[in-house]
Amino acid sequence: MSALLLFRPTRVVSVSVDGKACELPEGMMLATALASAGVRALRTSPRAGASRGAFCLMGACQECAIHVDGVLRQACMTSVRAGMSVELRGVP
């Protein structure tokens, strides 16, 4: 498991991220879970096209808004569930 984790997750589930299967700790917030799997760039900024990722982790900055099961959700407030489908296209 990721060297960044400070504990041993009890359950790990399979999630699809841009079509690729990914094993993430169940119940962890998606933004953090993705970071633990080395995925920190979640979308690009509207004018400059620069890489962006989670910033505030409390639901305020909206940088982590990505598509989960087709719906735009803040990844820092969305729990990882088995079979989740994540698309890193975000708010353009």
Binding site: S2, A3, L4, L5, L6, F7, P9, T10, R11, P25, E26, G27, M28, M29, T32, A33, A35, S36, R40, A41, L42, S45, P46, R47, A48, A50, S51, R52, G53, A54, F55, C56, L57, M58, G59, A60, C61, Q62, E63, A65, V71, L72, M77, S79, V80, V91
Partner: protein, 493 residues
Amino acid sequence: MNLGAGRADIERADVIVIGAGPAGAEAAITAAEGGLRVLVLDEQGAAGGQVWRAPVGGFPGKGDAEAAAGAALRERLSASSARALFAHRVWSVVRETPVDGGGAPGFRVDAVGPEGNLSLRAPHLVVATGAHERVVPFPGWTLPGVIGLAAATILLKSHGLAPGRRVVMAGCGPLLVAVAAGLVGAGVEVLAVADLARRRDWLARLPAVLGRPALAVRGAAWSVRATLSGARLLPAHGVRRAEGRDGVERVVLGPVDASGAARAGAETVFEADALVVGHGLTTACEVTRMLRADHRFSRLQGGWMPQVDEHFETTIPGLFAIGDGAGVRGQQIASLAGRRVGLALGARAVSVRAPRSATADFQAVDRQLARARPFSDAMAGLMAQRAGQVAAIGADTVVCRCEDVTRAEIDAAIDQSAGSIDQLKHLTRCGMGPCQGRYCGDTVQELMAVRLRQPREAVGQWTGRPPLRPVSLGELVGSFSYDDIPIPKPAPL
């Protein structure tokens, strides 16, 4: 009228509390103890706010005193008769005059939750929406891997993840020291901690700190632990820039003067994969602003906040504001204020205006509040926005993250805006993006004040508008049939 899936009517209560952090949860519990019907909402999955975030995803939590306090609060809330609605995002609050001629005027609150839109109504509304982090922009602050101090706290206390393998920390305020110690204690490699404050800024606050011995000891322990870990402690230093391609790879620190602006001196470069940075807290007062309560500006207490009386009531009858959202004063004062409001509302259920002297409980709480103020003011001083730091933001530095707007673009637009912060918004799109101005607002208003040589009071804030949180159209509309939509009379031909 059918508003959405399964929600045909409007739920009523005596008190609605927005925010279940230390302030809001305490207010809800106390009001419920006083016999009132209480609804408390929070967008997170559990009570506790930021300081007492519940552990998630199998992480057992840190198991320290703070974690225990959070668990205790959650326990008390769930044992109380207050009805808690978690994972609900409040997007609209409006004042309502009574419909049938009877009943008190009050508030209608709309929130989107897992089952769609929920509409609530109560004569009393307690707003306890807390604060969010202030980060004064610097080159590279938008790179993935750059996160706030509060964000790092959440990772440590709630998610159980380190921000990176080689972490640099920067910013100011008590949170900086606390998070550094927390990371070091969790075994994370912290390369450096850059504090905008100089040692004498901390020493000047020693009397207030010593008035809270338990915290003083804790603070000293934090500093010792951080020093022993090998982290370089750099007082009077700030971030010059963060660099990297798709994520942070390098952080450059440099000396700053008392105003927070960079001064001449050697830069230090760190190869780091995470930068944890925070420059204080700003009040989240969107609800009271939208309802047009009177607000005042206090740099010390985090910016704009609603004016409240000794009962924490705003200039709008029935609307109360407590916690960091009404002025950044920390957890202890937030909890006390919550209790105070809960008592006031309980007493009010009996009579219209309960005099202070009638209840010994009021006096006890007020005394505790008075005792807690010096420490909280001392800490707040370390977190206040530093004018020099904002004035020194580089021309090409992105200020509005959502819309990629630079300092130079903002300055040019200020000259065309006839002194109107709303016009500035329209010319630059600052404040129109998904974060609704939460992260750029304080900085943009300060930039306007600097350029026009005006006080912040004159510059003002952006007009508060719904939705208070971004909500998807799908969540808002729910399932409906075309005939459900109440169609007003068509326009004349």
